[in-house]
Structure formats: structure tokens, C-alpha cells
Symmetry: C2
Subunit: 514 residues, 2 copies
């Protein structure tokens, strides 16, 4: 058994089922391993960011790591932005990066670079020392990826370690149980809630799944606490029948206003909120006032659902909470295609258990409000701010959840960073409906420029924030990648195209001119 | 003057004329600086690899650095593969990477990452400490970029250093003269050549420009030495009237056969040749036999043209050398479109002083042979093996050399890593003719798999190396990015389309089905 075989065998034997692959010459034996190990499904990506983003999407929907294959440090570099997003989403991912033989590396051949240094910027890394070592390294990587909180784990595989015989598959110990809050922590939080001082339950991670939300709603009902979350979250279960939570706005002043006079903030699966950027004149990064006491019931490593269960029991919260969202089907919109109408149409048409991969940037800001009352669905946000996530996470989510419709709602400026994801969607016949918000500009940057500078941009800057010259033709781009595509210029056209895309199977893209 | 202004002013005052920009919100003040400093031309790229690759192409053609603007570590990561190529090409580049304010970074906001660690993998890096420090940091970066050999220099610009007042532009000392070989080194090399033992002049860097080649040819004529170079070089001047040099083949066995019984190898602007990869069973990385003595006349930092001048004088080489290439216009091909006919057509039609940006991978292997006798031109190879270079370097070369035709000869598998370069070509109306070698497969990987494994791939691997399902439609992709495009299926169609593209102005893409 060659080293690459034992590496892949170890991943397969321990539950890894999917590998997103962008191979190079150095990875021949890794490819051969997929011929030997049939229980891993290799899925080709034309560009590394597709592979890493898809692994993130897969992990968000399953809680389990997918693997990726990339070529040397250059390939890994293209994959890093979406690994950064995965790291912020606390998604487990195992990367395999091929490298030159150790002997050849001494001569500094053209592709040589510091792969470990690159990988370390997003998490755990180890280089295989021999073919006999690849199984153990894969096991260590998988254990690291599955630790709490989850990690990005990168295996560097020198070519000789891949092709030499003597590989030994290894076993991975099952992950330890997640930490639960100590009894006195639960008691202390219960005492805060009993004080009736204004308190916020601040949720993140699995606390934002249906089960967590139900518990949080009961606690809120019993104690009067508010339930709040970050503006962006790796995965939120929402829609009809689920607790409506308050989400912090993007602008710090608005966020602080929402938090208001809260005296306590209880963190449950979340870090304390901070603003995305700091802007000129901003004096505070934290999105809660100084007098607000932050307490950790469950950090990002802990079992936040178990923590909510313990707290619900402590405060005797048995009654269901209102307001939960109720199904209210808005009418299909008509007339000019505005952002609101577009979201309204999606709200009307999207089936139960849809998944929304959201990289709509400025066009998504009101998306949450405009999909109130929609059928139950999962919402996946841009977690780390690294552009190029949307279509790739949609791809991985669709691989993870066959039978569910995935809506990839996508700004045009950000969508053009990794449009190659469309090709993988076509190849794998994934049920992804991409909606391009074609405003043909860096709209968020126009707004940010004004905020930062206190004035409108001059002509040279304006030109740099405008994407009209030439405009991207998303119908042609999608078709170029093998995905059927249409363009909508009115609400009626959009309704019709969206309904047809939902009715059909396989990927479809709609360029919505807004 | 705010810090971003003094940074850009420093670059402009010291000769930087072009900046390839992919901005984010953090870079508002940098954008504003382009409004203040009109002598720098900001050129928008939709994706960071376009910016860094274009800066590389610009530097290869001018010898001078362009700047780039990227957004945080995530943006830099997308730019790293082409910075890796630029580093291998010894191209000077100055990157400006925006970051959070120092105070805000303490809270580990979503986009925070270790930018310095990322940048260090490709070269020099420094983080600005204050607005007053940005000019000095820019000056240091520019000096680092322009040192010998040239470097990739990255400036990290925290937002507060950009927006605070108190910026001070700085001056950069002119670069020191490049090193010339010591007299006794020249004498020693002269003695080797006088010995009449088989000797190779191994050229790199500026030794491959017209002037260097003329000198090398005279030395070869006077001494009987052979003139050789790497298979890939950042820039080679070739075509009619220029010295024909031997280029080492890709396969180590063939390369060693070409070097043959050489007893001496004289390095002039080049590193000693090593193989691109090591393959199973390969025992030697160096592409010269053990008995061959390697001597350095000029390393990559030295003035290789001056070194050739000194050596020519030492060996009294005054006579012009044969064989120089002679203009022989091949007939326009007809019939089925084969690789050879495609190159023959290019050879026939391309005007003098064309520039070829070559990321043809397997389709380019015979490109050199098939363009013998072409009009004088510059050839830019994939320097560091990081895929996604071709169209981006073509973009930068066209910016650097208005009035010259740029041919971007591009494999389809590699072209899809950074096709966004086409958009910048359309926006800037650059004279780039892209030729896609559409073989719809990872042909190089199919060959490499066989070499590495000693057998043909099985069905699962075959599927991973095939790009037919679905195939990329390059005509639609190009048009999606705003570039006129046509498809050629016969030699006649290709001839006609290429002639029209050369006749026209602005970018054009031809998808050649081979």
C-alpha cells in the first residue's frame, strides 16, 4: 500500500465521505488512492477556492469534515480565503496538499514554498515524514479537525511519502464529548436571569439550530430575557415555526442602540459581539455598552444546546415562547424588479427545508426581514468576510443535502471571485439556484467610502467602484461554465424564471438586474 | 495629508506609474489617494490574482515595479500564487494590503489574519506603525522591490495609519549599480573556455535579451561553447535575427542527454538547472552530470549583460555568431486544426515586436520549435509553476507596452484559474489576443499520472482528469467578461480569426478546438 493510499484509507475508515479535488502532477498517487478507496467520493473543482468553500458548506450542513486536495503552496494559497471563512464558521476541514520530495526540495525547485507557514494562518498543519507516517498524520489531522471548536487541519504530503510503499492506515479515537457548563455557572446565570435586570441571551453555533432556538425561546418566555445573535452566522435555522431572534446590525451605532440598556449578556456558543471593522472616530470595538456584563454559559467549544437545556431546567422554562415566525405567503410581486420584490418572490416560492447560501453583501442587508414568514429553511452567511464564498458553500451544501433546494444569493462583485463553482454544480447536477444581484457596482464600497471619507468619491474613485465598463454578462458566464441561465428585468420575469428553476433539477442561474 | 496619501505619493514620487487595484472597504483612503496623486494610473482587477499577475507582466517588460492594492490577508492569499510566479521571475512588485486598525485587531475581528506570515512566503513585508510612518515604509518597500535580485515587497496598511493625518512622503535612494564579475572570475572563465573542454554558457535573466544573446553568440563563435537556457524563462527575446539557443527539455532524462558530456557550465544570470519535479526512481535533481563543473560568472543579482561584455572582451569575441534565427514565413496552414498548425498560423501572422504570454502547458511544449523563423518577439513563460498566470501577465505586459500586440496562449485547464483578467483587458482596451488551446482535459496530468504510476488511470481517475463534462465554453466566458470571442474548428477558421484579431484593436479571444 503506497503512502497516499494509506492516507486516504485512514480518512475513509474514519468517516470522511467526500473529497473536493483540484489536483496537480504531484498528486498522481492521491488520485490513484481514490481508485482504491471507493467509499470516498472525489468531486472535481476547477479552482482551489471552490474545493475549500465546498468543504465548508458541506461541514456547515453535516457537522462533519470533507477533505480537499490541492497542489503545493500555490494551490493552497488560492484555497486560503475560503478556509479563513471555514475557520470563522468553526467548520472542520482536512486539506491534503502535495509537495515535492524532501530530497528535491533542497534544490528550491520552482513550485517550492513554505506550505506550513501558509497553512498555519488558518489552523493546524503537519508534514508527513514517510509513507509509513501518512496514516498516522491523517488520523492526527482528522482528530484536530474534529476537536472543539472544529479546526482547519492541513496535511502536507511530499511526493515520496505518497508513492513509497509501506503505508499503514490508522484509527482515529472518536471525538470526546463536548464540554457542558459547570453547575455553578448555570446557577449563576440563572441568578442573573432571576434578577430581572435587562439581559440578552447571545446565541451562536448550534444554539441557532431549531432545537437550540426552541430552548432559548422557552428561557426568554420564562425570564423576559431577549434573544439575540450576530448579524452573520455560519448556519441559522429560521422561517415558519421558529423563534424570531434579534440580529445585530452592521453599523456599530445601530448595533449599540439595539443592545440598549442591557445589563447582562449571556454567551451561548458565541463570542462577545464586536464590530466588523472599526471606522474613523469609533471609540469602541465591542457591540455592547461598558456597563453590560458579559458572562459565558457556553463558549464556542462547548455544547451550546446542552447548556441551553441546563439553563432551561434551572429557570424552569417549560412554556413555548412567542413570537415564533408564522408562515405568511406574500403575494408574488409584479412590476419593476427591486431588491424587496426579488426577496419577496423567493419568500413566496422557496420550498420547505431550502438552504440559502448568502453572499449578497449590500443586496442581502434586508434579506432577513423580507423573508420573514417563509417556509422553514437554513441560512448560511459569509462568516469570515473573505469574498468568493457564496457559490462554493452552496456547492458543498448541495452535496451534503441531496433533495433540498439550495439558493445561492450572490452579489455580482463578490460572485466573480469564484464563479468556477458553477462548473462543479453542473458536473455533479446539484440542485442549486443561483440568483445574481446584478447592480453592476461595488455598492458596499461606495457606501463605505462615504462613511470613511465623509464625502462622495471623486471621478477616479467612482470609476474604480463601478462595474459597468464593461458589465459582466452573468448569463454567458454561467453558460460558459455549463449552467443554464436566464436574465430577469421585471418581477414577473423573475417569478417565472425562479418557479421554473425550482421546478427543474440541476443548477440554474438567474441574473436579476436591479 | 493622510497616511494613505503619503504612501501613494511616495510611490509616485519615486517612479511607480501603475497600480493594479482590487479594493475593499478598508482601502477607502487608498482610493482617495489615487484622486490626489494623478501620476499613478489605478487599474481595476476583479480578482487579486489578476492584479499580482499583471504587476508581474508589467515588471517583466519594463524592469520596473507596479504596485497592487489588496484587501486584508484573504485578498493577499488570492494574490499569492502569481506573486510566487513573480518572485521566481525576479520581478519587482510592491503590494499594499489594507488591514484593520491596530486597536480593533486586538478583538480578532472576522477578517483578521496573519498578513505578515502570508506575505513573508513570497518576500519582504513591513507593517506601517502610524500615518507618519507610511511614507518611510513605502520607500523601504520600493527599495526592497528594486534590490538585486528584485523582490516582492508587501506593505501592510492598518486603517488608522491610512486615515490619520500626518503623512510624510519619503524619498527612495536610487538603486545601487548591479554587481559585475571580479576580474579574476572573468579570467578563470576565460581559461575554461580556452581549454576547449565542452562548455555550456547557461543564460538567464537579462542575458536572454537581444543584447545579451548577441554577446553570448559572439563568445560561442570565438570559443566553441554551447549556449543554453532553462526550459522556462521570465522573458526571452527571440525570433528572426536573434541567437538560437538550446533550451533544456522538461523530462530530466532528455535534459541530461542534451547537456551530454559537458565538462563546464558557466552560469550567467541563472541558477544551476534542476528538474521541475522529482519523479519516482529519479536519483538526481540537477540537470547536469556529476562530472560537469558549475561556475558562476554572474548570479541572479549581478549584471549579466555586463558580465557577458567582460567575458567577450576576455576571449576576444568580436565576430557575430551563427546560427541566428532567420525570418522564414511558413505558409498559412489548412485543414484540421492541429497544435502544429495553430502555432504555424501564429508564426505566419504575428507582427514584429509581439509579446507572447505562454501558459499553454502541454500545448506549448513544441511552441518554441514551431515559431522558429518568426518575426522578433518577446516570450514570457510560466515562471513559478503556479497556475493562473497567463492571462494576467498578458494584461500587465499590454499595459506596459502599448502599440505592441500581446498573444496570450493559454491552456483551458490553467486558463480557468484567473479568467477575470479578460475583464480588465476589455476595460482598458488592451491589445491582447487570447488563444485558448481547448483540449478539454488536464492533458499534462494524464501524462504525469502515467509517468508516476507506470500505468494508465482507472475510470475514477480518468473522470477527474477530463473536462468534457461539461466542457467550458470559452466564447461565452470571454463575452461574459466583455471580450469579443470566436471559436475555430479548422485551420482556415483559425487563420481568418487570428488575422482579424490582429487587424483589430482591443482584446479578442479565440477558442481553438484541438
Amino acid at each position: 500500500m503506497h503512502g497516499a493510499h494509506s492516507l486516504v484509507q485512514t480518512l475513509a475508515d474514519n468517516g470522511v465521505e467526500v473529497c473536493f479535488v483540484n489536483p496537480g502532477t504531484t498528486e498522481s498517487h492521491l488520485l490513484d488512492a481514490f481508485e482504491q478507496v471507493k467509499t470516498i467520493r472525489p468531486i472535481l473543482g476547477l479552482f482551489e477556492a471552490v474545493c475549500t468553500g465546498a468543504a465548508d458548506g458541506y461541514a456547515r450542513m453535516t457537522g462533519r469534515p470533507a477533505a480537499t486536495v490541492m497542489h503545493h503552496g500555490a494551490g493552497l494559497s488560492y484555497g486560503i480565503p475560503n478556509l479563513h471563512n471555514a475557520k470563522r464558521a468553526r467548520s472542520p476541514v482536512v486539506n491534503i496538499v502535495g509537495d515535492n520530495t524532501t530530497a528535491h526540495l533542497k534544490f528550491d525547485p520552482p513550485l517550492a514554498s513554505d506550505i506550513e507557514a501558509l497553512a498555519r494562518t488558518v489552523g493546524w498543519v503537519r508534514t508527513c515524514r514517510s509513507a509509513a507516517d501518512t496514516g498516522a498524520t491523517a488520523a492526527a489531522a482528522l482528530a484536530a479537525a474534529r476537536s472543539y471548536p472544529a479546526q482547519i487541519a492541513t496535511i502536507v504530503l511530499p511526493a515520496d511519502c505518497a508513492w513509497d510503499e509501506g503505508g499503514v492506515p490508522a484509527r482515529v479515537a472518536p471525538p470526546a464529548a463536548r464540554a457542558r457548563p459547570a453547575a455553578d455557572t448555570v446557577t449563576a446565570v440563572g441568578r442573573v436571569l432571576a434578577s430581572k435586570e435587562p439581559t440578552i441571551l447571545y446565541l451562536g453555533g448550534e444554539a441557532l439550530t431549531e432545537k437550540g432556538l426552541r430552548l432559548a425561546g422557552r428561557i426568554a418566555k420564562a425570564t423576559g430575557a431577549r434573544v439575540m445573535a450576530n448579524r452573520v452566522n455560519p448556519r441559522t435555522q429560521r422561517g415558519a415555526g421558529r423563534l424570531i431572534i434579534e440580529r445585530l446590525p452592521y453599523q456599530p451605532a445601530a448595533a449599540l442602540k439595539m443592545v440598549g440598556d442591557a445589563r447582562h449578556m449571556i454567551l451561548i456558543g458565541a463570542r462577545a459581539p464586536i464590530s466588523f471593522y472599526a471606522w474613523p472616530g469609533q471609540t469602541r470595538s465591542q457591540l455592547y455598552p461598558e456597563h453590560c456584563q458579559v458572562q459565558v454559559l457556553a463558549d464556542e467549544a462547548a455544547d451550546s444546546v446542552a447548556a441551553l437545556e441546563a439553563l432551561a431546567s434551572e429557570v424552569r422554562a417549560t412554556e413555548a415562547c412567542l413570537p415564533v415566525d408564522e408562515r405568511r405567503v406574500p403575494p408574488l410581486p409584479s412590476g419593476e424588479l427591486t431588491l424587496e420584490r426579488l426577496w419577496q418572490s423567493l419568500n413566496h416560492l422557496m420550498p420547505e427545508q431550502s438552504i440559502i447560501s448568502d453572499e449578497g453583501i449590500s443586496s442581502s442587508r434586508m434579506g432577513g426581514e423580507w423573508t420573514m414568514g417563509a417556509a422553514p429553511h437554513d441560512w448560511l452567511n459569509l462568516s469570515g468576510g473573505a469574498i468568493g464564498q457564496g457559490m462554493t458553500v452552496a456547492t458543498g451544501a448541495a452535496v451534503a443535502c441531496p433533495g433540498r433546494k439550495v439558493f445561492s444569493v450572490q452579489s455580482d462583485g463578490a460572485g466573480v471571485f469564484a464563479p468556477q463553482a458553477l462548473w462543479t454544480q453542473a458536473r455533479e447536477k446539484l440542485d442549486v439556484v443561483t440568483i445574481i444581484f446584478a447592480n453592476r457596482s461595488y455598492k458596499i464600497l461606495q457606501a463605505e467610502f462615504k462613511t470613511a471619507m465623509g464625502s462622495d468619491p471623486g471621478p477616479r474613485v467612482k470609476a474604480l467602484l463601478d462595474l459597468h465598463n464593461p458589465h459582466l454578462d452573468w448569463v454567458q458566464l454561467a453558460q460558459g461554465f455549463g449552467v443554464a441561465a436566464t436574465r430577469a428585468t421585471t418581477a414577473e420575469e423573475f417569478n417565472r424564471q425562479l418557479a421554473a428553476a425550482i421546478q427543474g433539477s440541476g443548477p440554474h442561474l438567474i441574473e436579476a438586474l436591479i
